[in-house]
Amino acid sequence: MFSTFYKKRSIGIVRRPSIFVLSMLVPSLFLVLLFNYYPILQSITYSFFKWSGGHKKTFLGLKNYIDLFTSSVFYISLYNQLVILVLRTIFLIVPALLVARLIFGLKTWAKASNFFRLIFVVPVVIPPIVVLLIWQFLLDGEIGLINSFLQAVSLGNLTRAWLGDPKTALGSVIAIGFPWVQGTNMLIFLAGFLAVDESIWDSVTLEGVSSLQRFFYIDIHLILGQLKLNIILTIIQLMQDFVGIMVLTDGGPGTATLVPGLLLYKNAFQYAKMGYANAIGVVLFVVILSLSILNSRIGKESNQ
């Protein structure tokens, strides 16, 4: 039995890959080369070209990048993205953390804590498109339920097309999903709390600090690893997820909710400026890659 512990390596040492090894690997490798690496290399290359999708390409050097970084629309989209990133990250982290802590606090009452855990996980199962469309309906200017509610409590003067008004569009997009208890983040936090050694909790309880103080000064430190991880994963997800905004407002009205990902999409599929779109893609890639590297560093730290 013990031999398995130090002999965990491969069975036979095969110098050349056997037919078995090759036949197992080739399908995966073929697909990845065709559908992943080929388009990736192409998009980096074509970011230096004028290209509308066909065979004709004109080399432009850095012009696409220069155009991008001197375009005011790009900075508007960056600003919107930043606002969304900051607020959505807070919204998707804080309520989840709070709920995880409360459910953890209920652990002497197993039935209740299991019940609430289930309650906050179930919404994760609802497809994002359904959540988006229901909220779009709630916020609708003509048939929306939020306006009906405002009228019912005689605040009719506040009614508006929430997603169609430049003043409220960005705020409405960010507010979607209220009260934002993100199930996945909640589960990760809960797992973090459960992994803390029992004796640490006991010693903390004895100190006689208020529960709010304890939450900010002690509890958060105990799950700092999970917190960092959730924040970065959320940011990476938010950077890539422009399709929600596309469904809700298509970046409008005007540029009120435009984000870089959507700018890429519009340039590629509406204006046929595919080279320029690729340049946006490369910029997004560099940012997301740096965050992913940071993420895996933190992942390794918190695993130790």
């Binding site: 197992m24 209740a112 709630l138 890539q240 469904v247």
Partner: protein, 281 residues
């Protein structure tokens, strides 16, 4: 008797009750939009304009009939696309994960990194060029235009997870099989895979969720209404039911049922799949 009372008191302590109260309020707020969607789904347009909030009678079950007829084809498309993708994602991913775990060959680690690096590269980078590629392959408005890129991208996670898992299966199991004259294929299908069914199911569910919920790629590659998966079919459906809010909500709720069923059947794998983001890499 005494034991029971003391236990009860500690369970229903003031702290526990206030925690439950607070969680209940948040829980109700979380479900509020869906509860309203449910209430509205039973209204015709007149009932909705006059009483938007409270339930009205008679219940308009006909909304569900209308909505069902419109969305069921999208659901079938999604089942087909996500189902076929998941099968091949698992097969190809497990095949590669297995040889990475148990065989030595030149450039093994380079090749592994070659797969793994893709986890760090956002799909948005190659969205445009992948679209052009799939179009040039003649796969636009074709199920394969969705399925093949889904397999290609989805297998990466499976390769990574199954390699780690297969490496931890005791070598002695394989050695004794080898002495009995078992072939490579036999060892894969009769030893490695049966021992890892739990993790494989988790990977299946994770993959189904991600392809089922993908909006962007179908939006780019599918224009024909008959081929749309539910994620973009609903956008088309929204346009068709603009004048009947009840049917619109009914359709949204019907669209949520398939994943809910998956969750009920395999909640353990589902939850494990959700939290795996934290252990990824």
């Amino acid at each position: 008797m005494i034991d029971r009372n003391t236990r009860k008191r500690s369970i229903h302590s003031a702290g526990n009750l206030s925690r439950s109260l607070f969680l209940s309020i948040l829980g109700i707020l979380t479900f509020l939009p869906f509860v309203f969607a449910l209430i509205i789904s039973f209204k015709d347009i007149f009932q909705y304009t006059h009483h938007p909030f409270k339930p009205t009678f008679p219940l308009m079950w006909s909304n569900y009939v209308i909505a069902y007829k419109l969305v069921i084809k999208y659901i079938f498309n999604s089942i087909l696309v996500s189902g076929v993708s998941a099968v091949f994602v698992i097969l190809l991913g497990v095949f590669s994960g297995y040889v990475f775990a148990r065989y030595d060959f030149p450039f093994k680690n380079t090749l592994f990194f070659f797969f793994l690096a893709l986890m760090m590269i956002p799909t948005v980078l190659s969205l445009v060029t992948r679209f052009i590629l799939v179009m040039n392959l003649g796969l636009r408005d074709n199920y394969l235009g969705m399925i093949l890129p889904y397999i290609s991208g989805g297998q990466i996670m499976v390769i990574f997870v199954s390699r780690t898992f297969f490496e931890n299966i005791p070598n002695s199991l394989f050695e004794s099989a080898k002495i009995d004259g078992a072939s490579d294929v036999h060892m894969l299908f009769n030893i490695a895979i049966p021992l890892s069914l739990a993790i494989i199911w988790t990977l299946v569910i994770m993959n189904i969720i991600s392809t089922w919920n993908n909006i962007l790629w179908p939006l780019v590659i599918i224009n024909k209404v008959e081929l749309m998966p539910i994620s973009i079919g609903l956008l088309h459906f929204k346009g068709q039911t603009q004048s009947n809010v009840g049917a619109m909500m009914a359709g949204y709720l019907i669209a949520s049922i398939p994943l809910l069923i998956v969750f009920v059947v395999a909640s353990k794998q589902f939850v494990r799949g959700l939290t795996s983001g934290a252990v990824k890499l």
